[in-house]
């Protein structure tokens, strides 16, 4: 199953990159998809059958504009701090705990945290995230967790778990 999914995704990427249905292109694509799928199918993520649920795709479509909006805000915020003459930052590494358990969802949460306002994931240990924060504005544990993880957790749980 995993091998098959790996082969199909590699073949799909190949055809997208070539953008033609020439028999030679398809033949070469199938050949290399077999090699890559046979060699690397094992490292493909588990539970790939979840991807067939249309509700997950719907929430992914909701998630993308939401994420891009926060990404844009993060960039404007950082850009303003950078060109401000005094560079107003208050950095530090904080520890927050997420409620997500799945591997894929935690990976994506870490990536989203890195791309959104003033936070960068330094390390993950189980469900503990160590996060470098550009401008720590509160000492309260619960508010920190809400501010860093709370934005994305509900949607990511619906997409990946």
């Amino acid at each position: 199953m995993k091998w098959l999914m790996c082969m199909l995704s590699v073949l799909g990427l190949w055809l997208l990159l070539f953008w033609s249905l020439d028999p030679w292109v398809i033949g070469t694509g199938v050949f290399f998809a077999l090699i890559v799928g046979g060699l690397l199918g094992e490292i493909y993520p588990d539970g790939i059958a979840k991807a067939l649920d249309p509700r997950r795709w719907f929430f992914l479509l909701v998630f993308l504009p939401y994420f891009l909006w926060y990404c844009m805000r993060a960039n404007v915020d950082v850009a303003l701090r950078v060109i401000h003459p005094d560079v107003p930052i208050r950095p530090g590494i904080v520890k927050v705990r997420t409620t997500l358990a799945g591997e894929m969802s935690r990976t994506f949460l870490a990536n989203c945290i890195t791309l959104t306002p003033g936070t960068l994931t330094v390390d993950i240990d189980g469900q503990d995230f160590y996060i470098h924060w550009l401008n720590i504005d509160t000492d309260d544990e619960a508010r920190r967790t809400a501010e860093i993880c709370g934005r994305f957790e509900p949607l990511l749980r619906r997409i990946f778990e």
């Binding site: 990427l13 997208l16 990159l17 070539f18 953008w19 990404c71 844009m72 993060a74 960039n75 950082v78 850009a79 701090r81 950078v82 060109i83 560079v87 930052i89 208050r90 950095p91 530090g92 590494i93 904080v94 520890k95 870490a110 990536n111 890195t114 791309l115 003033g118 936070t119 960068l120 994931t121 330094v122 390390d123 240990d125 503990d128 160590y130 470098h132 550009l134 720590i136």
Partner: protein, 135 residues
Amino acid sequence: MPDIAYWLIGVGLAFDLFGCIGLVRLPDVYNRAQAATKCVTLGTCVMLAGVAVAAFGESGGAIWPMGIKAIICAVFILLTSPVAAHAICRGAYLSGVPLWPGSVEDAFGPRAQDIRNEQAAAQTQRAEHEETQAS
């Protein structure tokens, strides 16, 4: 080419420039990685979106593959660049680069010490293993 493509590429260039200014102005590795990763990633993705708009806006569909490749490239960058920043920061902390003195909190210290101890233990174990094999 539609005007939107020009605007998108211009916005992307502006973000790239802010990211690089941040790379020079901010005080330590972690802050630099933050500013640079966020701004340059989004800036380049917006530029790639501009390329896609330009390619799909061209009549006849002759350069559609360019737009598709631009979108694939944007997805690659969005997925890989945070991972690279995270790896660099973890490596920097473990190799002993100190936080900027103005930092207000450092919760990673104990965990980093644990990781270093684990690595040292693994290394001594490997050395012993090699010794027994050599003799």
